[in-house]
Amino acid sequence: MLELKRVSKSYAGGELALNDVSFNVSAGEVVALIGPSGAGKSTLIRCINQLVQPTGGEVLLGGIRLDQLKGRKLRMARRQIGMIFQNYALVERLSVMENVLSGRLAYVGFWQSLLRRYPPDDIRYAVDLLDRVGLSSMLDKRADALSGGQKQRVGIARALIQRPDLLLVDEPTASLDPKSSRQIMRLLCELCREQNLAAIINIHDVALARQFVSRVIGLQQGRVVFDGRPDDLSETVLTEIYGMEDWQEPVHD
């Protein structure tokens, strides 16, 4: 469903953030993207929905070249792709319900959204999703009154109400405690299974990735250096991705 063909991105300074990245993701497949900070994980998922313009290669979703779309067509392609962010990226001064409904912006007109006149179906679906992430009683709370884990759940509901085919998830657990991290990852993977959603999840935490996904892609300095099952992530592979470190021994002071 999603195809990346030899995608590369170089910035104005000449540094190469992505170098010849190719892989496919099929419908319903959840992929974890691992790699050290600065390996290009964030750039890569932003090259998919064109928040960052790749400088070379092709990005295809359902056979359509996203990197050649502009204006309205690009917006229509973007609404098929839900995005979830590291720092939740909620609009803090809006209520939970408004944040979730903002995921419908590409489907409703300007005046409709200004007056908050969303179609009944959208409202019902918003409540269903809030039920699913366990926050329906918070619908009138302002987003800044929520805890980190709750904010990320609202972020997930906002992405899902777009009824996307693909989720791009940028470090969903980086600002959360270990328990919330596991809950969020479990929720994401369950939702993807229920809705047959494909997802690319950028994640630092290798153990967490191993626990929840069936396919891992390792990125190192903008190149794909591993693409396979989590079980095949051997010590040699991790060393190739992250550099020398003792991966098994517990840390002694």
């Binding site: 209520s95 319900m97 408004e98 908050r116 969303y118 179609p119 009944p120 179906d121 409202i123 019902r124 918003a126 409540v127 329906s136 009683s137 619908l139 009138d140």
Partner: protein, 275 residues
Amino acid sequence: MTESNTSLRLSHARQGVWKPLPAITQRWKRLSLNLAVLLYLLLATSSIEVNWARVSQGMERGIAFIASFARPDFLSRLDEIGLGLLESLTMTFVATVIGTLLAIPVGLGAASNMSPTPVYLFCRGVITISRTFQEIIIAILFVTMFGFGPLAGVMTLAFATLGFTAKLLAEDIEDVRKDALEAVKATGAGWLQWVNYAVQPQVMPRLIGLSMYRLDINFRESAVIGIVGAGGIGATLNTSINRYDYDTSAAILILIIIIVLFSEYLSGHIRRWTA
């Protein structure tokens, strides 16, 4: 908001009916406020009297004034215009520097996260006094105290700059990121070091922007306060208007516009460069 209200709104939303919570929760308060605003608007509009005969008469004079822009006369009063502009620019620059320098301690004192309550109240008081009086009124006071001329003008503009810059600077200081404040305090740094390391870097772009903005406000104000005798180009402008010498007035106004435009352009550059 009550628990039952939330569950009511939730069950409505399940049926597809949802509106955002109104800013004012009680219905009667909301309605009476709307009504009051409407009533006030109606009363206020109906109290405006327009003398159309006077307007049509005035249109001609206004057109004559505007028409003189087509033939501005820079030459016949060249010396006065030159001196006036030079005086205004000097006043503007000196007043902005003095006012901004004084605004820094007052702004720090008026930021609630920086200073103890007595200092805070005192500095807020200074700001309030400065901002209560329009420049013209302060100018009249200073002209009475120091006599006609640019000294009174500089004092006026410096005082106005102090209130303006200190208020906006204080608000910016109150919005700085708390984590940096905490981190620098945790190192055991002294108060001045704390301000220098945690606050100054965060508010400097704003302070520079404000002082540039104030520079061109002060230039414009210098043209106005000249009318009450505080020196500068305003005095020249006032004389020319009193003599019905609109061609010279037009020349002066055009020069003011050019200088303000130039300072706008300059401040854009400086702000980008210091960002």
